[in-house]
């Protein structure tokens, strides 16, 4: 894969280039940390999928997790909303904190954690019901019964993802009749309706065509003004176009995924510190 350095410079124009802090974390002192992992390891039964991952994810920015297939990107992403809990035999070591909450403590309510950390999946997965119900289902289950309030939430959420004008007269239509891009937007709107603080995107554009991908990327950048966004992507150009921070992961001989390099995206792509990162982003493997 060939990286176009010019396009990178253009996209990075809007973000002021800031020097790394000397403390070892690539974040500036001005950026506040939303999620912090400290020596995070994850095992599926006897298999270790993630090893010793420590990094800080900044608030209201886009952090991209990149790396070759099978390196544990999605597993790492699913650590943040504890979706890995669904897999029997999963064990997490180390510490993951969301603001001040250590999310793997026994006392943590997973359901309310998932309200704070929303997720958009690889394949658009609207529920087989009306557009309105797809969005209202979250708020309803959190206890909102007032019809007017639900209407407002649906309207607000669809407006955020630029679907309101297209769909406002068809809210009763089945979500399955929408185009894949609209379905993915609907899924993002559904997540926004729960008023999350963090949104995880798990290769959420990989099922879409290039034009739809661009539109979803624009939406992500827009959402990053208010939400902390973490994306997993195997698309280098996408990481370069949208993300502020990039985390490069790889597996070693023991098959456990490690964090090789974590840097501001523009720095990583123009001047990678690690040879493996350089090989990967310049397309020599992966």
């Amino acid at each position: 894969m060939k990286i176009n350095i010019n396009s990178k410079l253009m996209t990075q124009d809007s973000k002021p280039g800031l020097p790394s802090s000397p403390s070892g974390s690539p974040l500036d002192s001005r950026q506040s940390v939303k999620i912090k992992t400290d020596r995070l390891s994850l095992h599926y039964g006897s298999f270790q999928a993630l090893k010793d991952i420590s990094f800080d994810i900044p608030k209201c920015a886009i952090t991209a997790i990149i790396g070759p297939s099978g390196c544990g990107k999605s597993t790492l992403l699913r650590v943040f909303n504890r979706m890995n809990d669904l897999i029997p035999g999963v064990r997490v070591e180390g510490k993951v904190t969301l603001d001040d909450l250590s999310i793997y403590e026994k006392t943590v309510d997973v359901v309310s954690l998932r309200k704070r950390v929303g997720m958009v999946f690889q394949k658009p997965n609207p529920f087989p019901m009306s557009i309105f119900d797809n969005i209202a289902i979250g708020p309803k289950s959190y206890g909102i019964k007032d019809k007017q309030e639900l209407n407002n939430i649906v309207r607000w959420s669809l407006t955020q993802v630029a679907l309101w004008n297209d769909l406002k007269d068809n809210l009763k239509k089945s979500s399955l009749d929408l185009s894949p891009e609209q379905q993915q937007r609907l899924c993002i709107a559904r997540t926004l309706a729960g008023e999350p603080e963090v949104i995880l995107f798990d290769e959420s554009c990989s099922a879409l065509d290039p034009e739809a991908t661009m539109k979803i990327e624009e939406l992500m950048v827009d959402l990053a003004k208010k939400y902390t966004i973490i994306i997993v992507t195997h698309n280098m150009e996408q990481a370069l176009r949208v993300s502020d921070m990039a985390a490069f992961m790889m597996i070693e001989e023991d098959k456990a995924g490690r964090l090789v390099e974590y840097e501001k995206t523009n720095i990583m792509f123009s001047n990678p510190k690690d040879k493996r990162t350089e090989d990967y982003i310049t397309g020599r493997f992966g």
């Binding site: 669904l86 998932r114 999946f121 529920f127 087989p128 019901m129 289902i137 979250g138 289950s141």
Partner: protein
């Protein structure tokens, strides 16, 4: 030569397939030929809505038996459907793998018990139980409904469970990722998504209950009268045929075949409704 062989084997399978269909056609024609004349003679309205069944005096009204079939079936549905659906939810969503491996064949076994054994068991346990605790003769709608509810469980449970398990994993993940708890996920996402399969399961279960004869013949009491409470004895369409076929002749026999026509139509309607719903997705 090879081609001829293939053609021949295709033909042979076709003949076997045809034979099963032709049996259906034969039975249908036979019932209609035997039963239709008496309906024509008595009049459709008098036959279906007639209150008096007394073959020796030439009175052929099957309305009490239609009421009997409907009441016993509704009773069975009221008991069996909630239990069956809850059981399928448990198996699809809550049961650990090991328990599922035990439950599934056990439920299939329930379908393998001969219906006469159900009837016998009902006569010895359920009928006395009802007589002692609720009063009445014990032989009643309630007894039949309980037996039929148990007999419909395997159908309802296995088809509902399959339709729940067939849902894409993304529905469940999506719902949990939104911060719905497990029960909310089941209730507001999984059940609506599996609705058509579950409705089909219920209808097929009810179809089985309408057609069942041997098990209910022993516990219903078989009185030809419109029941006033669930503790009253009734006669269903099926048991009417089962009881009287042995000695009926002439018009009486024709009337029993005509009862069969009514039953046939009801079950056909139920099954095609179930098919329609599953196809509609």
């Amino acid at each position: 030569m090879k081609k001829f062989k293939e053609k021949l084997s295709g033909r042979i399978f076709f003949i076997f397939a045809l034979s099963s269909i032709s049996v259906l056609a034969l039975i249908t024609v036979f019932i209609i030929v035997k039963g239709a004349p008496i309906i024509a003679k008595v009049g459709f309205f008098n036959f279906v809505f007639g209150m008096k069944w007394s073959p020796s005096q030439g009175e052929f009204g099957i309305f009490p038996m239609i009421i009997g079939s409907v009441s016993v079936t509704l009773g069975a549905a009221a008991l069996g459907v909630p239990i069956g659906i809850c059981c399928s939810i448990f198996l699809a969503e809550f049961a650990p793998a090991k328990m599922r491996e035990f439950f599934r064949p056990a439920i299939q076994l329930l379908a393998g018990i001969p219906s006469v054994v159900y009837g016998f068991w009902g006569l010895l346990f359920i009928v006395p139980f009802i007589r002692n605790f609720f009063g009445g003769p014990g032989l009643s709608i309630l007894a039949g409904a309980i037996i039929l509810a148990i007999m419909t469980l395997p159908t309802i449970i296995s088809i509902s469970e399959v339709s729940l398990l067939a849902l894409p994993r993304q529905y469940k993940e999506g719902a949990l990722a939104l911060g719905l708890n497990h029960w909310q996920t089941i209730w507001s996402v999984l059940l609506p998504a599996a609705k058509s399969g579950i409705v089909a399961a219920v209808i097929l279960g009810i179809g089985r209950a309408v057609g069942e004869t041997m098990a209910v013949i022993m516990v219903l009491g078989n009185a030809v009268a419109v029941p006033l409470s669930i503790l009253d004895p009734v006669r269903t369409l099926t048991t009417n045929i089962g009881i009287e076929m042995g000695y009926a002749s002439g018009e009486h026999q024709q009337a029993l075949f005509a009862t069969g026509i009514v039953l046939f139509v009801i079950i056909m309607l139920l099954n095609s409704f179930a098919q329609y719903i599953t196809r509609k997705r």
